[in-house]
Symmetry: none
Subunit: 203 residues, 4 copies
DNA sequence: ACTATCGGGACCGCCCGTTAGT
DNA sequence: ACTAACGGGCGGTCCCGATAGT
């Protein structure tokens, strides 16, 4: 009996994911408002009742999607933490991420923007959207601090520098996603970080 | 006769601007989709007939707003071009702009995001939105080139550096607009540019 | 299970018919364009959601109505085919139909005209509207041919005569529906056919 | 001065006709309801004010068009009255009209239907639309009476026969206009009248 | 006589979410 | 768990007509 239930739960979870992915696809293509719940249903090959069985509203579905995205970001960050080597080397290695995001980006950019857009109006979304930035900044701040401690950087305000790095990354990302062929974004991000590190070297 | 005609045209132009400003306000507050044309009319104190006399659709109104914004950016850029002094000084002076935008930002951020969001879907908006970036990059590129020529910077790829500066600015802006109290954005932008310039100095 | 399902389908079909009849009534009273979907909903005692669940557009609803009308005509034609007796007798018996249509006409005339009117502009409607004429003409053509074969008529072009009969019927119908009291349409249609038959007799 | 006024009146009248013709064209193409006053203005190359200067409403413009059409019919009838020869010959000669109408018809049919359609709902239009039928019927009635008097026809009810002839003509017309290539309408109308006349001959 | 601007209104289509049913 | 039917409502668009202006 518990096995059967497990089966059913499994099926249910599958459906839930089908819906989430259909929603992501639709939102990315047309935007949140322009996407009707009906369309999501069709994309998922389900009926409305199914969607409203798993999510209490369209908004709820969106937030679930947001949370899913954030979890992904956390996972990425966790991978980063395991990097070894000197601090500057570690930072440079991270430009890799930019490339990864850019590659998988075409599909996801519109969703990012959708998140930002909602964040400007919806407090709950706003909080959730900003969270990762703070976390990234904190992470970089610690790295900078370590760099200063180990003597490979001059004494600067770690928080400021962390913010600068995150800003540079975000700016590159948005431009790269909006205009993939406008520049060699990977190269630019690498060079940008190099210049920054150069500027942070001990005199 | 043409003088009298001017009166009517003048009034018409006034109305047009009233509509644009009402639309900007509404879009910023609630977002494009959540703003009904009716609401814009009420905000402007006009009827639907008036709005649809001046703009052929809600979308058209939006694009007009976008164009207006771009013109403003161009004006800002034009002012910048007149700055004197050494290149690094000039660049640092420009962080001023970031402050200005941030100050007037609360009102405009949602509109920016609305632009970006639309840009991801609408080719016309996309083109118009990207245009300023290219222009800014070109402008910075020339500055860098001058800096290298005048010997105040080491030889680097001017385009890359320009892209980096713009990216940094964009990233700071978005974060600053989303999270005004999250950092001292003005200070950070100033420091960021300083570090970059440090990194660009001749060895 | 399929039995229970039938219940729901049944109810659904009932609703569909309720909508169709409400639409027919409204279109007949006010005309297609002057009838708002909302009014149809009120007449049917249903909500817009119901109507747009069963029909994809107002136009679609109209076409469904047209198809329904055509099916009715086919049924009438099928009844006619079973008539016995000599050909001329059969033809004369058919003036009955004119009477029937005229009696039920007050309600339906405006719909006919609506069909014709749309037919002039919409190819789909045009085709569907013309179909019955061709069928009637073919039917009469065969009757005339039989009449010639059995010797009760002189040799004439059956197609032409069929067209003439249909035309006479159509002309009488339209006039009769537009101006019910302008003549004794039943009598006139009977006499008209008699004169025609007289003219078709063998010399 | 009166010359100048005449000039102005002339110009005004020209404009009026321009509007009427633009309206006829638009109504024929799209139908009354689907034609916006604005479209008529554009077709006529005028502004809305001009139209509303000459006609008090869209409806008024339509009625003016109807009246214009009726006047044309009267003119045609007047020409008919001058025909000479025996009654049957005269009748047969009239099939010519059917051809004329059919030839010029493609453009006008939708307007006819528009008239009929409105007639079903608007009493004023209804009266005006029916008038010509009554007049035609009366005209034919007199011809039949003459035919009986001169001995070329047997004694029948002239009114009935007149109604039959008009009905036949109307039916042929509508079919011919809706489906120009569906039959050789000229030939059919000629044969139809011949058969009728045959049936009206003295035994 | 004719134009440009504007007011007010209504309609179609769609959409979100609920409920009765399976 | 999932479907189909339905309710209630709103939004963009367009349209007719009026008025101020030329």
């Amino acid at each position: 009996m518990s096995l059967l239930m497990a089966r059913q739960q499994e099926r249910s979870e599958e459906t839930r994911i089908r819906i989430l992915e259909a929603a992501e696809k639709c939102f990315a293509q047309k935007g949140y408002d322009a996407t009707s719940v009906m369309r999501i249903c069709q994309t998922a090959g389900l009926s409305k009742g199914a969607v409203y069985h798993h999510f209490s509203s369209k908004e709820d579905l969106f937030v679930a999607l947001l949370r899913r995205w954030l979890d992904g970001l956390d996972a990425q960050l966790a991978v980063l933490r395991e990097n070894k080597g000197s601090i500057p080397e570690g930072l440079l290695a991270m430009t890799e991420i930019v490339r990864e995001i850019l590659q998988s980006g075409e599909r996801q950019l519109p969703m990012y923007l959708e998140f930002y857009n909602k964040a400007a109006r919806d407090h709950r979304v706003w909080r959730a959207t900003l969270e990762p930035y703070r976390r990234y900044r904190e992470y970089f701040s610690q790295m900078i601090q370590s760099g200063i401690s180990e003597g490979s950087m001059r004494a600067v305000d770690p928080d400021s520098v962390a913010t600068i790095i995150v800003s540079l990354g975000l700016g590159l990302l948005i431009q790269g996603l909006l205009d993939p062929t406008g520049a060699d974004w990977e190269k630019v991000s690498y060079e940008g970080l190099q210049i920054l590190l150069q500027g942070l070297r001990k005199p």
